[in-house]
Amino acid sequence: LSQAATNSAIDVVCARMGRLKVAISLSSVQSILTRDEAVGLRLLDPSEELRTTLEPNLHVALLTDLSGPPTALCVGQVYASERWTSKRLRPLPRWATAHLSPLLHPACALGEGDDIIWLLNVRRAPRVLGAR
Protein backbone atom coordinates (compact mmCIF):
# COMPACT_ATOMS: atom_id res chain seq x y z
CA LEU A 1 0.00 0.00 0.00
CA SER A 2 2.79 2.38 0.92
CA GLN A 3 4.54 1.56 -2.35
CA ALA A 4 1.36 2.36 -4.23
CA ALA A 5 1.01 5.62 -2.32
CA THR A 6 4.58 6.52 -3.09
CA ASN A 7 4.13 5.91 -6.78
CA SER A 8 0.64 7.33 -7.14
CA ALA A 9 0.23 10.35 -9.31
CA ILE A 10 -2.51 12.89 -9.71
CA ASP A 11 -3.43 15.15 -12.56
CA VAL A 12 -3.51 18.80 -11.65
CA VAL A 13 -4.15 22.10 -13.28
CA CYS A 14 -2.16 25.13 -12.19
CA ALA A 15 -3.66 28.58 -12.13
CA ARG A 16 -2.65 32.12 -11.29
CA MET A 17 -4.97 33.67 -8.78
CA GLY A 18 -3.76 37.23 -8.35
CA ARG A 19 -0.32 37.00 -6.74
CA LEU A 20 -0.80 33.35 -5.83
CA LYS A 21 -0.21 30.25 -7.86
CA VAL A 22 -2.52 27.38 -7.01
CA ALA A 23 -2.86 23.77 -8.09
CA ILE A 24 -6.17 21.93 -8.27
CA SER A 25 -6.52 18.17 -8.40
CA LEU A 26 -8.59 17.16 -11.37
CA SER A 27 -10.08 14.29 -9.38
CA SER A 28 -12.33 16.84 -7.70
CA VAL A 29 -13.18 18.68 -10.86
CA GLN A 30 -15.54 17.72 -13.63
CA SER A 31 -14.18 20.26 -16.08
CA ILE A 32 -12.51 23.62 -16.41
CA LEU A 33 -14.67 26.25 -18.01
CA THR A 34 -14.26 29.84 -18.95
CA ARG A 35 -16.26 32.26 -16.90
CA ASP A 36 -18.51 32.89 -19.90
CA GLU A 37 -19.36 29.19 -20.10
CA ALA A 38 -20.37 29.07 -16.44
CA VAL A 39 -23.84 30.47 -16.97
CA GLY A 40 -26.32 29.19 -14.40
CA LEU A 41 -23.68 27.77 -12.08
CA ARG A 42 -23.31 28.72 -8.45
CA LEU A 43 -19.90 30.38 -8.27
CA LEU A 44 -17.60 30.25 -5.26
CA ASP A 45 -14.94 32.95 -4.99
CA PRO A 46 -11.92 32.00 -2.80
CA SER A 47 -10.04 35.30 -3.24
CA GLU A 48 -11.11 36.83 0.06
CA GLU A 49 -10.33 33.66 2.00
CA LEU A 50 -6.89 33.47 0.38
CA ARG A 51 -6.28 37.21 0.69
CA THR A 52 -5.68 37.65 -2.99
CA THR A 53 -7.40 39.18 -5.94
CA LEU A 54 -9.23 37.47 -8.74
CA GLU A 55 -9.49 38.94 -12.17
CA PRO A 56 -13.00 38.57 -13.62
CA ASN A 57 -13.86 36.49 -16.64
CA LEU A 58 -11.15 33.87 -16.31
CA HIS A 59 -11.53 30.18 -15.49
CA VAL A 60 -13.79 28.27 -13.15
CA ALA A 61 -13.61 24.63 -12.03
CA LEU A 62 -16.89 22.76 -12.13
CA LEU A 63 -16.92 20.64 -8.98
CA THR A 64 -17.99 17.00 -8.84
CA ASP A 65 -19.89 14.90 -6.32
CA LEU A 66 -21.88 17.72 -4.82
CA SER A 67 -25.49 17.75 -3.87
CA GLY A 68 -27.53 20.80 -4.77
CA PRO A 69 -27.07 23.13 -7.68
CA PRO A 70 -24.07 22.79 -10.01
CA THR A 71 -21.23 24.62 -8.37
CA ALA A 72 -17.99 26.00 -9.75
CA LEU A 73 -14.95 27.45 -8.07
CA CYS A 74 -13.27 30.54 -9.51
CA VAL A 75 -9.62 29.64 -9.97
CA GLY A 76 -8.15 32.52 -11.94
CA GLN A 77 -6.02 31.96 -15.03
CA VAL A 78 -5.23 28.32 -15.75
CA TYR A 79 -1.75 28.07 -17.24
CA ALA A 80 -0.67 24.44 -17.05
CA SER A 81 -1.89 20.88 -16.74
CA GLU A 82 0.54 18.41 -15.22
CA ARG A 83 0.86 15.01 -13.57
CA TRP A 84 2.41 15.11 -10.12
CA THR A 85 3.76 12.51 -7.74
CA SER A 86 4.50 13.09 -4.09
CA LYS A 87 8.08 13.94 -5.01
CA ARG A 88 6.79 17.19 -6.38
CA LEU A 89 5.41 18.29 -3.03
CA ARG A 90 7.06 19.88 -0.03
CA PRO A 91 5.38 19.85 3.39
CA LEU A 92 4.83 23.18 5.03
CA PRO A 93 6.48 23.65 8.42
CA ARG A 94 3.97 22.35 10.92
CA TRP A 95 4.53 25.20 13.34
CA ALA A 96 3.70 27.71 10.63
CA THR A 97 0.40 26.20 9.54
CA ALA A 98 -1.58 27.06 12.66
CA HIS A 99 -3.90 29.41 10.89
CA LEU A 100 -3.53 28.14 7.37
CA SER A 101 -6.69 28.60 5.38
CA PRO A 102 -8.80 25.42 5.35
CA LEU A 103 -8.88 25.86 1.59
CA LEU A 104 -5.22 24.88 1.42
CA HIS A 105 -3.46 21.61 2.05
CA PRO A 106 -0.48 21.83 4.44
CA ALA A 107 1.98 21.34 1.62
CA CYS A 108 3.03 23.12 -1.52
CA ALA A 109 4.80 22.45 -4.78
CA LEU A 110 7.71 24.28 -6.25
CA GLY A 111 7.35 25.87 -9.64
CA GLU A 112 10.00 27.19 -11.97
CA GLY A 113 12.42 29.34 -10.04
CA ASP A 114 11.26 27.67 -6.83
CA ASP A 115 8.17 29.81 -6.60
CA ILE A 116 5.45 28.42 -4.36
CA ILE A 117 2.37 26.69 -5.75
CA TRP A 118 -0.35 26.28 -3.14
CA LEU A 119 -2.50 23.16 -3.15
CA LEU A 120 -6.14 24.11 -3.20
CA ASN A 121 -8.42 21.80 -1.22
CA VAL A 122 -11.32 21.95 -3.63
CA ARG A 123 -13.51 19.53 -1.66
CA ARG A 124 -13.65 21.98 1.23
CA ALA A 125 -14.62 24.92 -0.93
CA PRO A 126 -18.42 24.51 -0.69
CA ARG A 127 -18.31 24.32 3.11
CA VAL A 128 -15.77 27.11 3.57
CA LEU A 129 -17.12 29.46 0.93
CA GLY A 130 -20.72 28.35 0.57
CA ALA A 131 -22.09 30.45 3.40
CA ARG A 132 -20.70 33.69 2.00
Binding site: R90, W95, A96, T97, L110
Partner: protein, 186 residues
Protein backbone atom coordinates in the same frame (compact mmCIF):
# COMPACT_ATOMS: atom_id res chain seq x y z
CA UNK B 1 67.76 -3.08 34.47
CA UNK B 2 64.26 -3.84 35.54
CA UNK B 3 61.52 -2.90 33.14
CA UNK B 4 59.88 -0.39 35.51
CA UNK B 5 63.10 1.59 35.76
CA UNK B 6 62.48 2.87 32.21
CA UNK B 7 59.64 5.10 33.37
CA UNK B 8 58.78 8.04 31.15
CA UNK B 9 57.39 10.03 34.08
CA UNK B 10 53.74 9.28 33.52
CA UNK B 11 53.57 7.10 36.56
CA UNK B 12 53.84 10.00 38.96
CA UNK B 13 51.26 11.98 37.06
CA UNK B 14 48.91 9.07 36.94
CA UNK B 15 49.29 8.54 40.62
CA UNK B 16 48.67 12.20 41.32
CA UNK B 17 45.62 12.26 39.17
CA UNK B 18 44.28 9.16 40.83
CA UNK B 19 44.77 10.79 44.19
CA UNK B 20 43.06 13.93 43.01
CA UNK B 21 40.21 11.82 41.63
CA UNK B 22 39.86 10.05 44.97
CA UNK B 23 39.69 13.38 46.80
CA UNK B 24 37.28 14.98 44.34
CA UNK B 25 34.06 16.25 45.81
CA UNK B 26 31.39 15.52 43.23
CA UNK B 27 28.83 17.66 45.00
CA UNK B 28 30.92 20.79 44.60
CA UNK B 29 30.58 23.07 41.58
CA UNK B 30 33.29 22.22 39.05
CA UNK B 31 35.83 25.01 39.10
CA UNK B 32 36.54 24.58 35.40
CA UNK B 33 32.94 25.39 34.42
CA UNK B 34 33.17 28.93 35.78
CA UNK B 35 35.46 29.87 32.93
CA UNK B 36 33.72 27.96 30.19
CA UNK B 37 32.52 30.20 27.42
CA UNK B 38 29.69 29.59 25.04
CA UNK B 39 29.56 30.37 21.38
CA UNK B 40 26.61 32.48 20.34
CA UNK B 41 25.41 34.15 17.21
CA UNK B 42 24.36 37.71 17.92
CA UNK B 43 22.28 39.81 15.61
CA UNK B 44 20.29 42.99 15.50
CA UNK B 45 16.74 43.79 14.50
CA UNK B 46 16.17 47.54 14.45
CA UNK B 47 17.46 48.83 17.81
CA UNK B 48 17.20 45.44 19.53
CA UNK B 49 20.02 42.91 19.89
CA UNK B 50 19.52 39.20 20.28
CA UNK B 51 21.68 36.12 20.43
CA UNK B 52 21.11 32.43 19.95
CA UNK B 53 23.32 29.60 21.10
CA UNK B 54 25.65 28.47 18.36
CA UNK B 55 24.39 24.90 18.66
CA UNK B 56 20.91 26.04 17.59
CA UNK B 57 22.10 27.73 14.41
CA UNK B 58 21.97 25.74 11.21
CA UNK B 59 23.11 28.48 8.85
CA UNK B 60 22.93 32.13 7.90
CA UNK B 61 21.82 33.12 4.44
CA UNK B 62 21.09 36.30 2.56
CA UNK B 63 17.41 36.98 3.06
CA UNK B 64 15.57 35.48 0.09
CA UNK B 65 12.11 36.27 -1.16
CA UNK B 66 9.52 35.30 1.44
CA UNK B 67 6.17 33.99 0.32
CA UNK B 68 3.27 34.81 2.60
CA UNK B 69 1.12 31.95 3.83
CA UNK B 70 -2.50 32.89 3.21
CA UNK B 71 -4.42 33.32 6.42
CA UNK B 72 -1.59 33.14 8.92
CA UNK B 73 -1.03 35.75 11.64
CA UNK B 74 1.48 38.54 11.18
CA UNK B 75 4.18 36.99 13.32
CA UNK B 76 4.54 34.32 10.65
CA UNK B 77 6.21 36.14 7.79
CA UNK B 78 5.81 33.24 5.40
CA UNK B 79 7.98 30.56 3.89
CA UNK B 80 11.14 30.40 1.85
CA UNK B 81 12.56 27.68 -0.32
CA UNK B 82 16.10 26.83 0.68
CA UNK B 83 17.94 23.82 -0.71
CA UNK B 84 14.61 22.74 -2.19
CA UNK B 85 13.07 22.56 1.27
CA UNK B 86 10.39 24.80 2.70
CA UNK B 87 11.36 26.76 5.79
CA UNK B 88 8.97 28.91 7.80
CA UNK B 89 10.06 32.42 8.73
CA UNK B 90 9.12 33.95 12.07
CA UNK B 91 8.88 37.68 12.73
CA UNK B 92 10.80 37.66 15.99
CA UNK B 93 9.72 41.12 17.11
CA UNK B 94 6.13 40.25 16.28
CA UNK B 95 6.36 36.98 18.18
CA UNK B 96 7.86 38.72 21.21
CA UNK B 97 5.36 41.57 20.90
CA UNK B 98 8.22 44.08 20.78
CA UNK B 99 8.09 47.32 18.88
CA UNK B 100 10.82 48.86 16.75
CA UNK B 101 11.54 52.56 16.76
CA UNK B 102 14.38 52.38 14.26
CA UNK B 103 14.28 51.16 10.71
CA UNK B 104 15.69 47.72 10.19
CA UNK B 105 17.80 46.88 7.17
CA UNK B 106 16.77 43.27 6.94
CA UNK B 107 19.42 41.43 5.01
CA UNK B 108 20.02 38.09 6.63
CA UNK B 109 18.05 35.04 7.54
CA UNK B 110 19.32 33.04 10.47
CA UNK B 111 18.03 29.49 10.25
CA UNK B 112 17.78 27.89 13.67
CA UNK B 113 16.70 24.42 14.60
CA UNK B 114 15.83 22.48 17.67
CA UNK B 115 14.60 18.90 17.50
CA UNK B 116 12.26 18.54 14.57
CA UNK B 117 11.60 22.25 14.26
CA UNK B 118 13.40 24.57 11.88
CA UNK B 119 12.66 28.26 11.62
CA UNK B 120 14.13 31.26 9.86
CA UNK B 121 14.63 34.56 11.72
CA UNK B 122 15.05 37.72 9.68
CA UNK B 123 17.83 39.89 11.00
CA UNK B 124 19.79 42.92 9.93
CA UNK B 125 23.31 42.68 8.61
CA UNK B 126 25.12 43.11 11.93
CA UNK B 127 25.34 39.40 12.56
CA UNK B 128 28.41 37.99 14.24
CA UNK B 129 29.73 35.02 16.16
CA UNK B 130 30.81 35.81 19.71
CA UNK B 131 32.24 33.91 22.62
CA UNK B 132 30.40 34.71 25.81
CA UNK B 133 31.88 33.89 29.16
CA UNK B 134 29.32 32.44 31.51
CA UNK B 135 30.49 34.98 34.05
CA UNK B 136 29.28 37.75 31.77
CA UNK B 137 25.82 36.29 31.50
CA UNK B 138 23.15 37.54 33.78
CA UNK B 139 20.47 35.10 34.78
CA UNK B 140 18.74 37.96 36.57
CA UNK B 141 16.71 39.55 33.84
CA UNK B 142 16.33 43.33 33.69
CA UNK B 143 13.02 44.43 35.21
CA UNK B 144 12.34 46.48 32.12
CA UNK B 145 12.15 43.34 30.01
CA UNK B 146 8.50 42.79 29.01
CA UNK B 147 6.93 39.62 30.44
CA UNK B 148 6.56 37.94 27.08
CA UNK B 149 10.20 38.59 26.24
CA UNK B 150 11.27 37.18 29.62
CA UNK B 151 9.45 33.96 28.76
CA UNK B 152 11.80 33.37 25.86
CA UNK B 153 15.01 34.70 27.39
CA UNK B 154 17.75 32.40 28.72
CA UNK B 155 19.99 35.20 29.90
CA UNK B 156 21.05 38.70 29.04
CA UNK B 157 24.42 40.36 28.57
CA UNK B 158 24.98 44.08 28.67
CA UNK B 159 26.65 45.16 25.43
CA UNK B 160 26.59 48.86 26.26
CA UNK B 161 25.47 50.81 29.25
CA UNK B 162 21.80 50.22 29.82
CA UNK B 163 21.39 48.02 26.76
CA UNK B 164 21.35 44.26 26.90
CA UNK B 165 21.63 41.55 24.31
CA UNK B 166 18.93 38.95 24.85
CA UNK B 167 20.01 35.33 24.61
CA UNK B 168 16.94 33.63 23.21
CA UNK B 169 15.56 30.33 24.40
CA UNK B 170 15.07 28.83 20.96
CA UNK B 171 13.60 25.60 22.32
CA UNK B 172 10.80 27.48 24.09
CA UNK B 173 10.09 29.63 21.07
CA UNK B 174 9.83 26.68 18.72
CA UNK B 175 7.91 24.54 21.19
CA UNK B 176 5.36 27.27 21.79
CA UNK B 177 4.97 28.01 18.11
CA UNK B 178 4.28 24.32 17.58
CA UNK B 179 1.84 24.23 20.49
CA UNK B 180 -0.03 27.12 18.99
CA UNK B 181 -0.24 25.12 15.77
CA UNK B 182 -1.64 22.11 17.62
CA UNK B 183 -4.21 24.23 19.42
CA UNK B 184 -5.34 25.81 16.19
CA UNK B 185 -5.68 22.43 14.48
CA UNK B 186 -7.72 20.83 17.30
Amino acid sequence: MAEDEHSDGFEDLVEQSQQAFADFDWSATPVEDEDVSMSVLSFGIAEHRFAVAGEDVREIIRSPEITEIPGTPRYILGIIVHRRQVVGVLDLLGWLEMTAHQDSSIERLVIVEHGDFVVGLRTDQTTRIEEWSREQLSGVLPPTLPPRVRTYTRATREHEVGRATILLDIKSILDDAAVRSSEAES
